[in-house]
Amino acid sequence: MLPHGAVCKPGQSRLNKTGSWREFRPNVAFNNCNGCGICESYCPDSCILIKDSVSIVDYDYCKGCGICAEECPKDAIMMEKEVK
């Protein structure tokens, strides 16, 4: 604990794996994805990234909000029920 009045280190929210919140998970159909990046710019949780021209979801943090699926211009993302 830093002894300096509630001052703390950056980026430690990653300790909190918000993926456990989700009820639906986004699945990316790589064939349809053209790596446009729209999903990445709209994701509230920085958990969809463009790698090698396709979208990759970070399921550790994805809360399953469904914005990516809704906004994908290629309908390449489908929301499916999360299996716990």
């Binding site: 002894p3 001052v7 950056p10």
Partner: protein, 393 residues
Amino acid sequence: MHEKKVMEGSVAVAHAIKSAKAQVIAAYPISPQTHIIEEIAKMIADNTCKSTFIRVDSEFSAASVVYGASATGVRSYTASSSQGLLLMSEVLYAMAGTRLPVVITGVNRTVSAPITIQPDLQDSMALRDSGIIQLYVESIQEAYATHIQAFKLAEDHDVLLPVMVCMDGWILTHLYEPVKLEEQELIDKFLPSYKPKYMLDSKAPLTYGSYADDEVSEFRFMMHFAQEKAKEKINSIAREYENVFGDYFGGIIDHYFCDDAEIVIVAMGSVIGTLKEAIHEIRKSGTKIGLLKVRSYRPFPGEEILDVVKDAKIVAVIDKSLSVGQGGQLASDLKAAFYNKKAPYVLSCIAGMGGREIAMKGINKIIEKCKLALENDSVPFTEYIDLKEEYLK
């Protein structure tokens, strides 16, 4: 070489802030603080003071500006009084909790309602739980010295708390006296530039002001512990100042003629000057009376006071303020420190509110009440020394 000039108390404070090389200053005018900030503004306009002065829209903003500046790693200062201190109180609590070493001049003036611009300690008393260190000065020269000492104290890495230098409004801010202005080179050596422990810096990002749940317990304890540590720092800084500049006004406390005293008066602020003269007179008549000056009110020097007055029969505490519904704050704190220990009686005396003068008459009345209490072996909870009975009918 130091310079000795006759000047107004406010101007002396401005000189201290200039010499302490405060980097960012923000203030909003309120009587009787105005002359301090006006003098600083004049010094900046003449380029004799190199501080950045932000003229803000309210005291809340003033405290917020220095909060932001201090967090970004610069020496910061503000001043206010009465309503202004209350308005900035939310920020001051946050400042202490975030451990920002801002120096604040608290020009003591009572608090509305009724509205008045007369001095008493009701304003700074309202902030005694905040975590801010409170030092009360007796004279203009002490105000000058204590502001310089305050930066050194606040910025000490074991302390890192805001420090409020409390000085009675009008009595100390608007009086003219000869003041010794110290040599800048010596001040620079006594008070080197601020080296922050942490700060907002894009090269080493930190998150300030995160929210804690019950870790608040630890953070609050650490503040309290820092104030405990500050006691010895206040003492050592005062002695160091004496070594360099030759002036000593006390550490956390100071005392006069307490060695053989049967009655000791305990007080803070400018009334100490009046009491010092009175003590001399009263002693001539044979009454064994002593004076204890509380210089640091927070951290509270309870043990240290007891150590000085333990052999006295009774201690009369003058409060120029009132915790409505309970009593005098300084007296209550002292009673708490004395409780469960072998200690003299404590007589709480309320006097001097709203700028009502505490003069020989009042002091004699206090001594009378002390003697009566000793005679009857019974001490009333509070004595109101100077109430005008005719108004209360």
